[in-house]
Amino acid sequence: MSQVPADLKYTASHEWIRTLADGTLEIGITDHAQHSLGDLVFVEVPQAGRQVKAGESCAVVESVKAASDVYAPFAGEVIAGNPALADAPETVNSDCYGAGWLYRMRVAAEALAAAGLLSAAQYQKVQDAEGG
């Protein structure tokens, strides 16, 4: 059974969002997503300063089997990509909700509200509906 921490928000496309102390947002992929992908061997994260639109592909996670895009849950400015993943993509498998975060964004309140993020309970239902 994959983990779905209660203190995070989620998207139906298997990303999680954490609000940091300074109000910026940290984004990663869920336990369900990393497990489905299998061993990750390459992760490309966006560069700081990049402006992204909601739904835009802004990171790539590749396992031995396949490459998957990670989409921005909302519009905003990337303030950091996780620099550790270039040399250690497997961190996303071993600690997807912690050291395996992908990137951080600064997002306007309206953009965040428009994103329609899911609670942990709502995301769990999405997973259940997908049979996993």
């Binding site: 061993d39 390459f42 031995v64 089997k65 396949a66 490459a67």
Partner: protein, 365 residues
């Protein structure tokens, strides 16, 4: 639901992720594809390859049939149990399938045993059956057998512990690309990983206890995911990816498997290959090593100094910790090339496979 091997329930109980593979429900991985890969390179792993299609040929003219049916020449098989890798071609020289054929496998009444791919079973059986009729050769699919591949530097010493004590020494003495019957089991020193090991065909009911015993001997359960990265590191082709009915052996890295001598042997596809054998094939299958971060995948475009080509199989190599591929490129291409990976041109280098054999890198990184 797809077809299932006698080991399906065991795979599920071992926590395997099951995927469709050529119409079969097969385990792609149990724990970690990379860990399973390393287990085979460093120790021993076992794969369920029962989906592959075993075909026994019976009849005096079986050898004559195969010298007509196959691009490689079974006359090269000098001793019972000896194995040969070959393509089976159509009249245009395209590859219907690739297969292993064993001479005199030690089964009463069986002259040759062939192992063909699961995904091509139906067309293969139809083709072989049609070709066999004039030779009065009996063709029998052995759906009663399961097949395990036990592969890795420690595979043979562990796998022989499945046999009766009196058979262990003889099984360990099998030469490379040779097999023999031990009781109801056919044990062959063949494989698809670039490591030493056995492929064992056995009655279906024996497969689950054999697998459990191998696990208890420290042999790791391995899925088809690891099988794919292992074969690609070993520079071995995958039918349907690296060659098919629209490509011929000379542009698929398989010239070594086509016996153009003796010149009078009229195998199917020979007429189409002869001009290519004389003039050279306009395309070739080569190895690629990615020089940058990223992962090479099938169908990515390759730009070379001799023109454009395409990746036929690409993956991440767990042994080399780099991305590798097989690619079909114009003849004469070599050196450094560019591959379009997710919209970006990345630098790669043309190399001669294999990339890895017997646990060690065969290329300079």
């Amino acid at each position: 639901m797809g077809r299932r091997t006698p080991l399906f329930a065991l795979h599920e109980s071992l926590g395997a992720r099951i995927v469709d593979f050529g119409g079969w429900d097969m385990p792609v991985q149990y724990t970690s594809q990379i860990a399973e890969h390393h287990a085979v390179r460093r120790a021993a792993g076992v794969f369920d390859v029962s989906h592959m299609c075993v075909v026994d040929l019976a009849g005096e003219r079986s050898g004559e049939l195969l010298r007509h049916l196959l691009a490689n020449d079974v006359a090269r098989l000098q001793t019972p149990g000896k194995a040969l890798y070959s393509c089976m071609l159509n009249e245009s020289g395209g590859v219907i399938d690739d297969l292993i054929v064993y001479r005199d496998p030690g089964v009463p009444g069986v002259a040759y045993r062939m192992v063909v791919n699961a995904g091509t079973r139906d067309k293969d059986l139809a083709w072989i059956g049609a070709q066999a009729r004039p030779f009065d050769v009996g063709v029998r699919e052995r759906t009663d057998l399961a097949m395990l591949a036990v592969q890795g530097p420690q595979a043979r010493e562990r796998a022989v512990q499945l046999l009766r004590t009196q058979d262990e020494a003889a099984a360990l003495a099998l030469g490379s690309f040779s097999g023999a019957q031990f009781g109801e089991w056919f044990v062959a020193r063949t494989g698809y990983t670039g490591e030493d090991g056995f492929e064992i065909m056995m009655p279906a009911a024996d497969a689950v206890p054999a697998w459990r015993k191998l696990n208890s001997l420290g042999v790791t359960s391995c899925g088809l995911g690891a099988r794919d990265t292992l074969r690609l590191e070993a520079g071995m082709n995958l039918y349907g990816n690296d060659m098919d009915e629209t490509t011929q052996p000379f542009e698929s890295g398989l010239a070594w498997t086509v016996a153009m001598q003796p010149a009078q042997r009229q195998f199917i596809g020979r007429a189409a290959l002869e001009p290519l054998a004389r003039a050279g094939s306009p395309r070739q299958l080569v190895g690629l090593l990615l020089l940058e971060r990223g992962v090479l995948r099938g169908h990515q475009r390759v730009a070379t100094s001799a023109g454009a080509g395409e990746i036929t199989s690409g993956t991440y190599s767990p042994t080399l910790e780099r991305s590798i591929a097989l690619a079909r490129v114009p003849a004469g291409a070599g050196g450094d090339v560019q591959v379009e990976v997710r919209g970006k041109p990345l630098a790669a280098r043309i190399l001669k496979p294999p990339f890895v054999r017997n646990g060690a890198a065969r290329i300079a990184l």
